[in-house]
Subunit: 322 residues, 2 copies
Protein backbone atom coordinates (compact mmCIF):
# COMPACT_ATOMS: atom_id res chain seq x y z
CA UNK A 1 0.00 0.00 0.00
CA UNK A 2 1.43 3.32 -0.96
CA UNK A 3 -0.09 6.58 -2.07
CA UNK A 4 -1.87 4.99 -4.96
CA UNK A 5 -4.14 3.14 -2.58
CA UNK A 6 -6.52 5.99 -2.06
CA UNK A 7 -9.67 3.93 -1.90
CA UNK A 8 -9.02 1.99 1.26
CA UNK A 9 -7.11 4.80 2.96
CA UNK A 10 -10.17 6.93 3.33
CA UNK A 11 -12.15 4.11 4.89
CA UNK A 12 -9.37 3.51 7.32
CA UNK A 13 -9.45 7.02 8.65
CA UNK A 14 -12.74 6.12 10.30
CA UNK A 15 -11.00 3.64 12.57
CA UNK A 16 -8.26 4.36 15.00
CA UNK A 17 -5.20 2.56 13.66
CA UNK A 18 -4.42 0.68 16.79
CA UNK A 19 -0.95 -0.36 17.65
CA UNK A 20 -0.04 -3.86 18.46
CA UNK A 21 2.78 -5.79 20.02
CA UNK A 22 4.27 -8.56 17.93
CA UNK A 23 5.88 -11.64 19.42
CA UNK A 24 8.09 -14.06 17.55
CA UNK A 25 7.97 -17.67 18.75
CA UNK A 26 10.25 -20.47 17.59
CA UNK A 27 9.65 -24.21 17.48
CA UNK A 28 13.23 -25.42 17.04
CA UNK A 29 13.75 -29.04 16.07
CA UNK A 30 16.76 -31.34 16.16
CA UNK A 31 17.05 -35.11 16.00
CA UNK A 32 19.61 -37.01 18.01
CA UNK A 33 19.88 -40.74 18.41
CA UNK A 34 16.59 -41.30 16.70
CA UNK A 35 14.81 -38.98 19.10
CA UNK A 36 13.10 -35.85 17.75
CA UNK A 37 13.72 -32.94 20.09
CA UNK A 38 12.30 -29.50 20.75
CA UNK A 39 14.38 -26.67 22.13
CA UNK A 40 12.90 -25.23 25.32
CA UNK A 41 13.73 -22.69 27.99
CA UNK A 42 12.36 -22.22 31.46
CA UNK A 43 11.06 -25.39 33.10
CA UNK A 44 11.18 -27.21 29.76
CA UNK A 45 7.78 -25.71 29.19
CA UNK A 46 8.49 -22.61 27.12
CA UNK A 47 9.55 -22.01 23.55
CA UNK A 48 12.19 -19.38 22.78
CA UNK A 49 10.47 -16.13 21.93
CA UNK A 50 10.69 -12.39 22.05
CA UNK A 51 9.11 -9.21 20.73
CA UNK A 52 9.71 -7.96 17.22
CA UNK A 53 11.65 -4.75 17.63
CA UNK A 54 12.79 -1.84 15.52
CA UNK A 55 16.37 -3.00 15.47
CA UNK A 56 15.42 -6.23 13.69
CA UNK A 57 16.01 -6.12 9.98
CA UNK A 58 13.27 -8.66 9.30
CA UNK A 59 10.95 -11.01 11.10
CA UNK A 60 13.30 -13.93 10.54
CA UNK A 61 16.36 -12.11 11.74
CA UNK A 62 14.47 -11.03 14.83
CA UNK A 63 13.62 -14.63 15.51
CA UNK A 64 17.21 -15.76 15.00
CA UNK A 65 18.35 -13.10 17.41
CA UNK A 66 16.00 -14.14 20.19
CA UNK A 67 16.76 -17.81 19.85
CA UNK A 68 20.51 -17.26 19.85
CA UNK A 69 20.28 -14.96 22.81
CA UNK A 70 18.09 -17.25 24.86
CA UNK A 71 19.60 -20.59 23.93
CA UNK A 72 22.90 -20.00 22.18
CA UNK A 73 21.75 -22.00 19.16
CA UNK A 74 22.08 -20.63 15.64
CA UNK A 75 19.19 -21.55 13.35
CA UNK A 76 19.44 -23.02 9.88
CA UNK A 77 16.23 -23.60 8.01
CA UNK A 78 13.33 -21.38 9.09
CA UNK A 79 9.73 -21.52 7.97
CA UNK A 80 6.74 -19.52 9.08
CA UNK A 81 4.02 -21.53 10.78
CA UNK A 82 1.10 -19.36 11.69
CA UNK A 83 0.16 -15.92 12.94
CA UNK A 84 -2.48 -15.57 15.59
CA UNK A 85 -3.93 -12.88 17.80
CA UNK A 86 -4.49 -14.11 21.25
CA UNK A 87 -7.90 -13.15 22.51
CA UNK A 88 -6.84 -13.80 26.07
CA UNK A 89 -3.76 -11.69 25.92
CA UNK A 90 -5.05 -8.18 25.85
CA UNK A 91 -2.79 -6.09 28.05
CA UNK A 92 -4.21 -5.40 31.45
CA UNK A 93 -3.39 -1.71 31.86
CA UNK A 94 -3.71 -0.39 28.32
CA UNK A 95 -6.03 -1.79 25.77
CA UNK A 96 -3.51 -3.50 23.56
CA UNK A 97 -3.36 -6.54 21.35
CA UNK A 98 -0.57 -9.06 21.12
CA UNK A 99 0.07 -10.89 17.90
CA UNK A 100 2.25 -13.98 17.79
CA UNK A 101 4.09 -15.13 14.70
CA UNK A 102 5.27 -18.70 15.12
CA UNK A 103 8.07 -20.36 13.20
CA UNK A 104 9.43 -23.82 12.59
CA UNK A 105 13.23 -24.01 12.63
CA UNK A 106 15.54 -26.94 11.97
CA UNK A 107 19.03 -27.30 13.40
CA UNK A 108 21.42 -29.85 14.89
CA UNK A 109 21.96 -30.42 18.57
CA UNK A 110 25.74 -30.41 18.38
CA UNK A 111 25.65 -27.03 16.73
CA UNK A 112 26.46 -25.28 19.99
CA UNK A 113 26.97 -25.96 23.65
CA UNK A 114 23.80 -24.15 24.53
CA UNK A 115 23.20 -21.87 27.44
CA UNK A 116 22.31 -23.39 30.81
CA UNK A 117 18.79 -22.01 30.69
CA UNK A 118 17.79 -24.11 27.72
CA UNK A 119 17.38 -27.77 26.99
CA UNK A 120 16.33 -30.33 24.44
CA UNK A 121 13.26 -32.45 25.14
CA UNK A 122 11.96 -35.33 23.13
CA UNK A 123 8.77 -34.01 21.64
CA UNK A 124 7.06 -37.28 22.45
CA UNK A 125 7.20 -36.24 26.11
CA UNK A 126 4.56 -33.69 25.22
CA UNK A 127 2.76 -35.95 22.76
CA UNK A 128 3.15 -39.54 23.95
CA UNK A 129 0.35 -40.64 21.65
CA UNK A 130 2.28 -39.55 18.56
CA UNK A 131 5.08 -42.13 18.58
CA UNK A 132 3.98 -45.19 16.64
CA UNK A 133 7.42 -46.55 15.82
CA UNK A 134 6.90 -49.53 18.11
CA UNK A 135 3.30 -49.96 17.17
CA UNK A 136 0.35 -48.06 18.57
CA UNK A 137 1.38 -46.79 22.01
CA UNK A 138 -0.74 -48.17 24.88
CA UNK A 139 -1.95 -44.72 25.89
CA UNK A 140 -3.99 -44.46 22.71
CA UNK A 141 -6.22 -47.44 23.26
CA UNK A 142 -6.03 -47.69 27.05
CA UNK A 143 -6.44 -44.06 28.02
CA UNK A 144 -7.35 -41.80 25.12
CA UNK A 145 -9.96 -43.99 23.53
CA UNK A 146 -12.15 -44.45 26.64
CA UNK A 147 -11.78 -40.79 27.66
CA UNK A 148 -12.69 -39.59 24.21
CA UNK A 149 -15.71 -41.85 24.22
CA UNK A 150 -16.74 -40.27 27.53
CA UNK A 151 -16.17 -36.86 26.04
CA UNK A 152 -18.23 -37.62 22.96
CA UNK A 153 -21.03 -39.03 25.08
CA UNK A 154 -20.92 -35.92 27.22
CA UNK A 155 -23.17 -33.93 24.92
CA UNK A 156 -26.88 -34.42 24.82
CA UNK A 157 -27.36 -33.77 21.10
CA UNK A 158 -27.08 -37.03 19.20
CA UNK A 159 -25.69 -35.40 16.07
CA UNK A 160 -23.00 -33.58 18.01
CA UNK A 161 -22.15 -36.83 19.78
CA UNK A 162 -21.71 -38.63 16.47
CA UNK A 163 -19.63 -35.79 15.10
CA UNK A 164 -17.32 -35.76 18.10
CA UNK A 165 -16.77 -39.47 17.87
CA UNK A 166 -16.16 -39.31 14.15
CA UNK A 167 -13.50 -36.66 14.65
CA UNK A 168 -11.79 -38.82 17.24
CA UNK A 169 -12.05 -41.90 15.06
CA UNK A 170 -10.46 -40.20 12.10
CA UNK A 171 -7.76 -38.44 14.08
CA UNK A 172 -6.63 -41.42 16.12
CA UNK A 173 -7.39 -44.20 13.68
CA UNK A 174 -9.85 -45.98 15.94
CA UNK A 175 -12.08 -48.76 14.62
CA UNK A 176 -9.51 -50.15 12.21
CA UNK A 177 -8.97 -46.88 10.42
CA UNK A 178 -5.36 -46.35 9.60
CA UNK A 179 -3.17 -43.98 11.54
CA UNK A 180 -2.38 -40.73 9.77
CA UNK A 181 0.72 -39.20 11.30
CA UNK A 182 0.00 -35.78 9.82
CA UNK A 183 -3.06 -35.17 11.98
CA UNK A 184 -1.02 -34.13 15.02
CA UNK A 185 -2.80 -30.79 15.36
CA UNK A 186 -6.28 -32.30 15.08
CA UNK A 187 -5.36 -34.82 17.76
CA UNK A 188 -4.07 -32.13 20.09
CA UNK A 189 -7.20 -30.08 19.54
CA UNK A 190 -9.28 -33.09 20.47
CA UNK A 191 -7.48 -33.87 23.72
CA UNK A 192 -7.58 -30.16 24.50
CA UNK A 193 -11.30 -29.85 23.87
CA UNK A 194 -11.87 -33.00 25.87
CA UNK A 195 -10.03 -31.38 28.76
CA UNK A 196 -7.36 -34.07 28.87
CA UNK A 197 -4.33 -31.77 28.97
CA UNK A 198 -3.36 -29.26 31.60
CA UNK A 199 -3.51 -26.31 29.22
CA UNK A 200 -7.27 -26.74 28.96
CA UNK A 201 -7.28 -26.05 32.69
CA UNK A 202 -9.23 -22.84 33.10
CA UNK A 203 -12.54 -24.58 32.71
CA UNK A 204 -11.56 -27.68 34.66
CA UNK A 205 -13.63 -28.86 37.54
CA UNK A 206 -14.24 -32.07 39.40
CA UNK A 207 -16.47 -33.45 36.70
CA UNK A 208 -13.68 -33.55 34.16
CA UNK A 209 -11.66 -36.72 33.66
CA UNK A 210 -8.06 -36.87 34.90
CA UNK A 211 -5.36 -35.70 32.54
CA UNK A 212 -3.64 -37.91 30.05
CA UNK A 213 -0.04 -38.27 31.27
CA UNK A 214 2.14 -35.89 29.28
CA UNK A 215 4.34 -32.83 29.80
CA UNK A 216 2.52 -29.54 29.45
CA UNK A 217 3.73 -26.17 28.24
CA UNK A 218 3.16 -22.54 28.94
CA UNK A 219 0.25 -20.71 27.29
CA UNK A 220 -0.38 -22.13 23.82
CA UNK A 221 3.17 -23.25 23.17
CA UNK A 222 2.21 -26.89 23.02
CA UNK A 223 -0.28 -26.06 20.34
CA UNK A 224 2.44 -24.37 18.34
CA UNK A 225 4.56 -27.49 18.68
CA UNK A 226 1.66 -29.61 17.44
CA UNK A 227 1.28 -27.30 14.46
CA UNK A 228 4.99 -27.57 13.76
CA UNK A 229 5.09 -31.35 14.01
CA UNK A 230 2.20 -31.62 11.60
CA UNK A 231 3.87 -29.26 9.16
CA UNK A 232 7.16 -31.06 9.38
CA UNK A 233 5.63 -34.50 8.96
CA UNK A 234 3.86 -33.30 5.89
CA UNK A 235 6.82 -31.45 4.46
CA UNK A 236 9.40 -34.22 4.65
CA UNK A 237 7.32 -36.07 2.11
CA UNK A 238 7.72 -33.57 -0.65
CA UNK A 239 10.73 -31.41 0.18
CA UNK A 240 14.20 -32.59 1.18
CA UNK A 241 14.21 -30.76 4.50
CA UNK A 242 15.42 -33.75 6.53
CA UNK A 243 18.97 -32.96 5.57
CA UNK A 244 18.84 -29.81 7.66
CA UNK A 245 18.74 -32.14 10.64
CA UNK A 246 21.57 -34.42 9.53
CA UNK A 247 25.31 -34.09 10.13
CA UNK A 248 27.36 -33.35 7.00
CA UNK A 249 28.07 -37.05 6.52
CA UNK A 250 25.73 -39.89 7.42
CA UNK A 251 24.67 -43.42 6.54
CA UNK A 252 21.41 -44.20 4.84
CA UNK A 253 20.15 -45.95 7.93
CA UNK A 254 20.82 -42.89 10.05
CA UNK A 255 18.87 -40.87 7.54
CA UNK A 256 16.04 -43.36 7.70
CA UNK A 257 15.99 -43.33 11.51
CA UNK A 258 15.77 -39.55 11.46
CA UNK A 259 12.78 -39.57 9.16
CA UNK A 260 11.18 -42.27 11.26
CA UNK A 261 11.73 -40.18 14.38
CA UNK A 262 9.92 -37.25 12.79
CA UNK A 263 7.12 -39.27 11.25
CA UNK A 264 6.65 -41.37 14.37
CA UNK A 265 6.41 -44.53 12.33
CA UNK A 266 8.64 -47.06 10.63
CA UNK A 267 9.74 -47.09 7.04
CA UNK A 268 10.37 -50.10 4.81
CA UNK A 269 14.12 -50.09 4.43
CA UNK A 270 14.58 -51.29 0.84
CA UNK A 271 11.94 -48.88 -0.42
CA UNK A 272 13.44 -46.00 1.49
CA UNK A 273 16.85 -46.65 -0.03
CA UNK A 274 15.42 -46.98 -3.51
CA UNK A 275 13.59 -43.70 -3.22
CA UNK A 276 16.52 -41.76 -1.86
CA UNK A 277 18.81 -43.12 -4.53
CA UNK A 278 16.55 -42.77 -7.51
CA UNK A 279 15.94 -39.16 -6.57
CA UNK A 280 19.67 -38.58 -6.40
CA UNK A 281 19.30 -36.66 -3.18
CA UNK A 282 22.63 -37.93 -1.83
CA UNK A 283 26.05 -38.89 -3.11
CA UNK A 284 28.61 -41.30 -1.69
CA UNK A 285 31.61 -39.83 0.05
CA UNK A 286 33.65 -42.93 -0.72
CA UNK A 287 34.14 -43.58 2.97
CA UNK A 288 32.42 -46.12 5.16
CA UNK A 289 31.89 -46.53 8.86
CA UNK A 290 32.05 -49.63 11.00
CA UNK A 291 30.57 -47.91 14.01
CA UNK A 292 27.16 -49.20 13.17
CA UNK A 293 28.16 -52.81 13.73
CA UNK A 294 27.68 -55.43 11.09
CA UNK A 295 28.75 -54.75 7.56
CA UNK A 296 30.29 -51.31 7.26
CA UNK A 297 27.85 -48.71 6.00
CA UNK A 298 28.70 -46.38 3.16
CA UNK A 299 28.76 -42.72 4.09
CA UNK A 300 26.78 -40.21 2.11
CA UNK A 301 26.43 -36.49 1.90
CA UNK A 302 23.52 -34.38 0.73
CA UNK A 303 23.68 -33.23 -2.88
CA UNK A 304 22.93 -29.55 -2.54
CA UNK A 305 22.23 -29.38 -6.24
CA UNK A 306 19.16 -31.48 -5.52
CA UNK A 307 17.69 -28.52 -3.63
CA UNK A 308 17.12 -26.70 -6.87
CA UNK A 309 16.13 -29.69 -8.95
CA UNK A 310 13.72 -31.20 -6.49
CA UNK A 311 11.58 -28.10 -6.39
CA UNK A 312 9.50 -29.79 -8.98
CA UNK A 313 9.17 -33.44 -8.34
CA UNK A 314 9.21 -33.35 -4.59
CA UNK A 315 10.59 -35.88 -2.20
CA UNK A 316 8.37 -38.84 -1.56
CA UNK A 317 8.77 -41.04 1.45
CA UNK A 318 7.38 -44.54 1.63
CA UNK A 319 5.65 -45.10 4.90
CA UNK A 320 4.81 -48.65 5.85
CA UNK A 321 1.13 -49.54 5.86
CA UNK A 322 0.31 -51.62 8.91
Amino acid sequence: MDDQAIGPRKDRAAVKADEVKVDLIAFVVAVNDSEPCVLTIGQADTLPSGPFALEHRSLQSGLRGWVEQQTGHPLGYIEQLYTFADRDRIGAERQQRVISISYLALTRKEQAAGSPKCGWQSWYEYFPWEDHRSGTPPVVLDVLRPRLIEWADGVSDAAARRERWQRATIAFGFDDRLWNEELTLQRYELVYEAGLVQEAGSGRDATLPPLVPSKSMVADHRRIVATGIARLRSKIKYRPVVFELMPPVFTLLQLQRTVEALAGRLIHKPNFRRLIEQQELVEETGEATTETGGRPAKLYRFRHAALDERVIAGTKLPLARG
Copy 2:
Protein backbone atom coordinates in the same frame (compact mmCIF):
# COMPACT_ATOMS: atom_id res chain seq x y z
CA MET B 1 3.29 -16.55 27.45
CA ASP B 2 1.98 -15.68 30.84
CA ASP B 3 3.55 -15.10 34.18
CA GLN B 4 5.20 -18.48 34.21
CA ALA B 5 7.49 -17.37 31.41
CA ILE B 6 9.99 -15.67 33.60
CA GLY B 7 13.07 -16.66 31.68
CA PRO B 8 12.44 -14.77 28.46
CA ARG B 9 10.71 -11.86 30.14
CA LYS B 10 13.86 -10.65 31.78
CA ASP B 11 15.79 -10.70 28.54
CA ARG B 12 13.10 -8.73 26.88
CA ALA B 13 13.35 -5.89 29.30
CA ALA B 14 16.63 -5.01 27.64
CA VAL B 15 14.83 -4.17 24.42
CA LYS B 16 12.14 -1.59 23.98
CA ALA B 17 8.98 -3.49 23.11
CA ASP B 18 8.18 -1.56 19.98
CA GLU B 19 4.71 -1.18 18.72
CA VAL B 20 3.68 -2.09 15.28
CA LYS B 21 0.80 -1.53 12.92
CA VAL B 22 -0.83 -4.62 11.53
CA ASP B 23 -2.51 -4.72 8.14
CA LEU B 24 -4.87 -7.43 6.96
CA ILE B 25 -4.85 -8.10 3.21
CA ALA B 26 -7.25 -10.35 1.34
CA PHE B 27 -6.81 -12.23 -1.90
CA VAL B 28 -10.43 -13.04 -2.66
CA VAL B 29 -11.13 -15.59 -5.38
CA ALA B 30 -14.22 -16.47 -7.39
CA VAL B 31 -14.66 -18.38 -10.62
CA ASN B 32 -17.25 -17.37 -13.21
CA ASP B 33 -17.66 -18.77 -16.68
CA SER B 34 -14.42 -20.70 -16.42
CA GLU B 35 -12.50 -17.57 -15.54
CA PRO B 36 -10.71 -17.37 -12.20
CA CYS B 37 -11.13 -13.89 -10.73
CA VAL B 38 -9.56 -11.77 -8.04
CA LEU B 39 -11.48 -9.10 -6.15
CA THR B 40 -9.87 -5.69 -6.46
CA ILE B 41 -10.52 -2.11 -5.48
CA GLY B 42 -9.02 1.13 -6.75
CA GLN B 43 -7.81 1.00 -10.34
CA ALA B 44 -8.09 -2.80 -10.35
CA ASP B 45 -4.64 -2.75 -8.83
CA THR B 46 -5.29 -3.06 -5.10
CA LEU B 47 -6.44 -5.87 -2.85
CA PRO B 48 -9.00 -5.19 -0.13
CA SER B 49 -7.19 -4.47 3.11
CA GLY B 50 -7.27 -2.57 6.33
CA PRO B 51 -5.62 -2.30 9.72
CA PHE B 52 -6.25 -4.77 12.51
CA ALA B 53 -8.04 -2.79 15.19
CA LEU B 54 -9.13 -3.20 18.77
CA GLU B 55 -12.75 -3.64 17.84
CA HIS B 56 -11.98 -6.77 15.83
CA ARG B 57 -12.67 -9.97 17.70
CA SER B 58 -10.04 -11.89 15.74
CA LEU B 59 -7.76 -11.51 12.76
CA GLN B 60 -10.23 -13.31 10.52
CA SER B 61 -13.20 -11.26 11.62
CA GLY B 62 -11.18 -8.11 11.06
CA LEU B 63 -10.45 -9.25 7.54
CA ARG B 64 -14.09 -10.09 6.87
CA GLY B 65 -15.06 -6.66 8.09
CA TRP B 66 -12.69 -4.82 5.79
CA VAL B 67 -13.58 -6.83 2.74
CA GLU B 68 -17.31 -6.42 3.31
CA GLN B 69 -16.93 -2.72 3.91
CA GLN B 70 -14.75 -2.10 0.88
CA THR B 71 -16.42 -4.45 -1.58
CA GLY B 72 -19.75 -5.57 -0.17
CA HIS B 73 -18.75 -9.21 -0.53
CA PRO B 74 -19.12 -11.64 2.36
CA LEU B 75 -16.34 -14.21 2.60
CA GLY B 76 -16.73 -17.94 2.97
CA TYR B 77 -13.61 -20.01 3.27
CA ILE B 78 -10.60 -18.11 4.66
CA GLU B 79 -7.05 -19.34 5.02
CA GLN B 80 -3.94 -17.53 6.17
CA LEU B 81 -1.27 -17.11 3.55
CA TYR B 82 1.76 -15.37 4.95
CA THR B 83 2.86 -12.67 7.35
CA PHE B 84 5.58 -10.28 6.34
CA ALA B 85 7.17 -7.12 7.60
CA ASP B 86 7.72 -4.66 4.86
CA ARG B 87 11.20 -3.27 4.92
CA ASP B 88 10.20 -0.40 2.71
CA ARG B 89 7.26 0.61 4.76
CA ILE B 90 8.72 2.14 7.85
CA GLY B 91 6.64 5.17 8.73
CA ALA B 92 8.23 8.43 7.67
CA GLU B 93 7.53 10.57 10.71
CA ARG B 94 7.76 8.09 13.55
CA GLN B 95 9.93 5.06 13.50
CA GLN B 96 7.27 2.42 13.09
CA ARG B 97 6.98 -0.97 11.47
CA VAL B 98 4.08 -2.25 9.44
CA ILE B 99 3.27 -5.92 9.39
CA SER B 100 0.96 -7.41 6.79
CA ILE B 101 -0.98 -10.61 7.29
CA SER B 102 -2.28 -11.89 3.99
CA TYR B 103 -5.20 -14.24 3.49
CA LEU B 104 -6.70 -16.38 0.77
CA ALA B 105 -10.50 -16.26 0.66
CA LEU B 106 -12.95 -18.12 -1.55
CA THR B 107 -16.40 -16.88 -2.47
CA ARG B 108 -18.84 -16.66 -5.36
CA LYS B 109 -19.30 -13.70 -7.62
CA GLU B 110 -23.07 -13.69 -7.46
CA GLN B 111 -22.93 -13.53 -3.70
CA ALA B 112 -23.56 -9.80 -3.70
CA ALA B 113 -23.99 -6.91 -6.07
CA GLY B 114 -20.75 -5.39 -4.91
CA SER B 115 -19.99 -1.78 -4.31
CA PRO B 116 -19.03 0.40 -7.25
CA LYS B 117 -15.48 0.81 -6.06
CA CYS B 118 -14.63 -2.82 -6.50
CA GLY B 119 -14.39 -5.22 -9.37
CA TRP B 120 -13.51 -8.71 -10.45
CA GLN B 121 -10.51 -9.24 -12.69
CA SER B 122 -9.38 -12.43 -14.30
CA TRP B 123 -6.18 -13.27 -12.51
CA TYR B 124 -4.58 -14.18 -15.82
CA GLU B 125 -4.56 -10.45 -16.63
CA TYR B 126 -1.85 -10.16 -14.03
CA PHE B 127 -0.22 -13.48 -14.88
CA PRO B 128 -0.71 -14.10 -18.61
CA TRP B 129 1.97 -16.79 -18.53
CA GLU B 130 -0.01 -18.89 -16.08
CA ASP B 131 -2.91 -19.96 -18.29
CA HIS B 132 -2.00 -23.17 -20.11
CA ARG B 133 -5.52 -24.36 -20.83
CA SER B 134 -5.06 -23.79 -24.56
CA GLY B 135 -1.50 -25.02 -24.54
CA THR B 136 1.56 -23.01 -23.61
CA PRO B 137 0.68 -19.34 -24.11
CA PRO B 138 2.83 -17.56 -26.72
CA VAL B 139 4.20 -15.10 -24.18
CA VAL B 140 6.15 -17.87 -22.49
CA LEU B 141 8.28 -18.91 -25.44
CA ASP B 142 8.20 -15.68 -27.45
CA VAL B 143 8.79 -13.13 -24.72
CA LEU B 144 9.71 -14.64 -21.39
CA ARG B 145 12.18 -17.20 -22.62
CA PRO B 146 14.43 -14.80 -24.53
CA ARG B 147 14.24 -12.15 -21.78
CA LEU B 148 15.09 -14.66 -19.11
CA ILE B 149 18.02 -15.84 -21.19
CA GLU B 150 19.21 -12.25 -21.39
CA TRP B 151 18.74 -11.91 -17.66
CA ALA B 152 20.67 -15.08 -16.92
CA ASP B 153 23.48 -14.00 -19.22
CA GLY B 154 23.54 -10.65 -17.50
CA VAL B 155 25.81 -11.84 -14.71
CA SER B 156 29.48 -12.34 -15.18
CA ASP B 157 29.87 -15.29 -12.85
CA ALA B 158 29.42 -18.51 -14.80
CA ALA B 159 28.00 -20.42 -11.86
CA ALA B 160 25.44 -17.73 -11.12
CA ARG B 161 24.51 -17.68 -14.79
CA ARG B 162 23.91 -21.41 -14.80
CA GLU B 163 21.90 -21.18 -11.61
CA ARG B 164 19.69 -18.43 -12.96
CA TRP B 165 18.98 -20.35 -16.10
CA GLN B 166 18.27 -23.52 -14.18
CA ARG B 167 15.75 -21.70 -12.02
CA ALA B 168 14.01 -20.37 -15.12
CA THR B 169 14.08 -23.76 -16.80
CA ILE B 170 12.48 -25.49 -13.86
CA ALA B 171 9.92 -22.79 -13.18
CA PHE B 172 8.72 -22.35 -16.76
CA GLY B 173 9.30 -25.85 -18.05
CA PHE B 174 11.73 -24.82 -20.77
CA ASP B 175 13.80 -27.41 -22.64
CA ASP B 176 11.11 -30.08 -22.64
CA ARG B 177 10.66 -30.06 -18.90
CA LEU B 178 7.04 -30.36 -17.96
CA TRP B 179 5.02 -27.42 -16.75
CA ASN B 180 4.32 -27.41 -13.03
CA GLU B 181 1.33 -25.18 -12.35
CA GLU B 182 2.13 -24.91 -8.65
CA LEU B 183 5.28 -22.85 -9.20
CA THR B 184 3.38 -19.60 -9.68
CA LEU B 185 5.30 -17.80 -6.95
CA GLN B 186 8.70 -18.93 -8.20
CA ARG B 187 7.77 -17.74 -11.68
CA TYR B 188 6.67 -14.34 -10.40
CA GLU B 189 9.85 -13.99 -8.41
CA LEU B 190 11.84 -14.71 -11.55
CA VAL B 191 10.10 -12.14 -13.73
CA TYR B 192 10.38 -9.69 -10.85
CA GLU B 193 14.09 -10.27 -10.36
CA ALA B 194 14.59 -10.02 -14.09
CA GLY B 195 12.91 -6.63 -14.00
CA LEU B 196 10.13 -7.68 -16.36
CA VAL B 197 7.20 -6.36 -14.32
CA GLN B 198 6.43 -2.83 -13.33
CA GLU B 199 6.60 -3.53 -9.61
CA ALA B 200 10.35 -4.13 -9.95
CA GLY B 201 10.47 -0.54 -11.10
CA SER B 202 12.55 1.29 -8.53
CA GLY B 203 15.79 0.00 -9.96
CA ARG B 204 14.73 0.28 -13.59
CA ASP B 205 16.86 2.14 -16.07
CA ALA B 206 17.36 2.19 -19.80
CA THR B 207 19.48 -0.92 -19.79
CA LEU B 208 16.62 -3.09 -18.58
CA PRO B 209 14.46 -4.93 -21.07
CA PRO B 210 10.90 -3.75 -21.72
CA LEU B 211 8.18 -5.13 -19.51
CA VAL B 212 6.30 -8.30 -20.20
CA PRO B 213 2.74 -7.22 -21.03
CA SER B 214 0.60 -7.74 -17.92
CA LYS B 215 -1.46 -5.75 -15.44
CA SER B 216 0.48 -4.58 -12.42
CA MET B 217 -0.64 -3.98 -8.87
CA VAL B 218 0.09 -1.66 -6.01
CA ALA B 219 3.03 -2.38 -3.70
CA ASP B 220 3.50 -6.12 -3.32
CA HIS B 221 -0.12 -7.09 -3.92
CA ARG B 222 0.71 -8.99 -7.06
CA ARG B 223 3.15 -11.07 -5.09
CA ILE B 224 0.42 -11.88 -2.60
CA VAL B 225 -1.81 -12.97 -5.46
CA ALA B 226 0.96 -15.20 -6.79
CA THR B 227 1.34 -16.75 -3.35
CA GLY B 228 -2.39 -17.33 -3.17
CA ILE B 229 -2.63 -18.88 -6.62
CA ALA B 230 0.17 -21.27 -5.77
CA ARG B 231 -1.47 -22.21 -2.50
CA LEU B 232 -4.84 -22.73 -4.12
CA ARG B 233 -3.46 -24.79 -7.00
CA SER B 234 -1.73 -27.00 -4.51
CA LYS B 235 -4.67 -27.25 -2.14
CA ILE B 236 -7.35 -28.28 -4.62
CA LYS B 237 -5.43 -31.49 -5.10
CA TYR B 238 -5.80 -32.73 -1.59
CA ARG B 239 -8.69 -30.83 -0.03
CA PRO B 240 -12.18 -30.34 -1.44
CA VAL B 241 -12.01 -26.56 -1.40
CA VAL B 242 -13.27 -26.13 -4.97
CA PHE B 243 -16.80 -26.45 -3.77
CA GLU B 244 -16.50 -23.13 -1.97
CA LEU B 245 -16.40 -21.61 -5.43
CA MET B 246 -19.35 -23.54 -6.86
CA PRO B 247 -23.04 -22.67 -6.78
CA PRO B 248 -25.16 -24.99 -4.63
CA VAL B 249 -26.03 -27.11 -7.65
CA PHE B 250 -23.78 -27.76 -10.62
CA THR B 251 -22.88 -30.22 -13.35
CA LEU B 252 -19.71 -32.25 -13.31
CA LEU B 253 -18.42 -30.41 -16.34
CA GLN B 254 -18.91 -27.07 -14.60
CA LEU B 255 -16.96 -28.43 -11.68
CA GLN B 256 -14.23 -29.60 -14.01
CA ARG B 257 -14.07 -26.22 -15.77
CA THR B 258 -13.69 -24.52 -12.41
CA VAL B 259 -10.79 -26.70 -11.40
CA GLU B 260 -9.24 -26.18 -14.82
CA ALA B 261 -9.61 -22.43 -14.43
CA LEU B 262 -7.74 -22.52 -11.15
CA ALA B 263 -5.07 -24.95 -12.25
CA GLY B 264 -4.60 -23.22 -15.59
CA ARG B 265 -4.52 -26.53 -17.39
CA LEU B 266 -6.90 -29.11 -18.78
CA ILE B 267 -8.13 -32.23 -17.10
CA HIS B 268 -8.94 -35.57 -18.69
CA LYS B 269 -12.68 -35.73 -18.45
CA PRO B 270 -13.28 -39.44 -17.81
CA ASN B 271 -10.61 -39.54 -15.14
CA PHE B 272 -11.97 -36.44 -13.46
CA ARG B 273 -15.45 -37.92 -13.27
CA ARG B 274 -14.18 -41.21 -11.96
CA LEU B 275 -12.17 -39.53 -9.24
CA ILE B 276 -14.98 -37.26 -8.09
CA GLU B 277 -17.41 -40.12 -7.99
CA GLN B 278 -15.26 -42.70 -6.32
CA GLN B 279 -14.45 -40.22 -3.59
CA GLU B 280 -18.16 -39.60 -3.06
CA LEU B 281 -17.59 -35.88 -2.90
CA VAL B 282 -20.90 -35.13 -4.60
CA GLU B 283 -24.40 -36.55 -4.79
CA GLU B 284 -27.00 -36.29 -7.54
CA THR B 285 -29.88 -33.93 -7.01
CA GLY B 286 -32.06 -35.98 -9.35
CA GLU B 287 -32.45 -32.99 -11.65
CA ALA B 288 -30.75 -32.33 -14.95
CA THR B 289 -30.13 -29.25 -17.04
CA THR B 290 -30.34 -28.78 -20.77
CA GLU B 291 -28.71 -25.39 -20.67
CA THR B 292 -25.38 -26.90 -21.49
CA GLY B 293 -26.49 -27.99 -24.94
CA GLY B 294 -26.14 -31.58 -26.04
CA ARG B 295 -27.30 -34.36 -23.80
CA PRO B 296 -28.71 -32.94 -20.56
CA ALA B 297 -26.23 -33.00 -17.71
CA LYS B 298 -27.10 -34.37 -14.31
CA LEU B 299 -27.01 -31.86 -11.53
CA TYR B 300 -25.01 -32.53 -8.39
CA ARG B 301 -24.53 -30.99 -5.02
CA PHE B 302 -21.59 -31.18 -2.66
CA ARG B 303 -21.80 -33.80 0.06
CA HIS B 304 -20.90 -31.80 3.15
CA ALA B 305 -20.33 -35.02 5.05
CA ALA B 306 -17.30 -35.50 2.81
CA LEU B 307 -15.67 -32.52 4.50
CA ASP B 308 -15.16 -34.55 7.64
CA GLU B 309 -14.32 -37.81 5.97
CA ARG B 310 -11.87 -36.46 3.47
CA VAL B 311 -9.65 -34.96 6.11
CA ILE B 312 -7.67 -38.12 5.82
CA ALA B 313 -7.49 -39.33 2.31
CA GLY B 314 -7.45 -36.00 0.59
CA THR B 315 -8.90 -35.05 -2.74
CA LYS B 316 -6.90 -36.03 -5.74
CA LEU B 317 -7.29 -34.35 -9.06
CA PRO B 318 -6.02 -35.85 -12.28
CA LEU B 319 -4.15 -33.31 -14.32
CA ALA B 320 -3.27 -34.21 -17.87
CA ARG B 321 0.39 -34.93 -18.58
CA GLY B 322 1.34 -33.24 -21.82
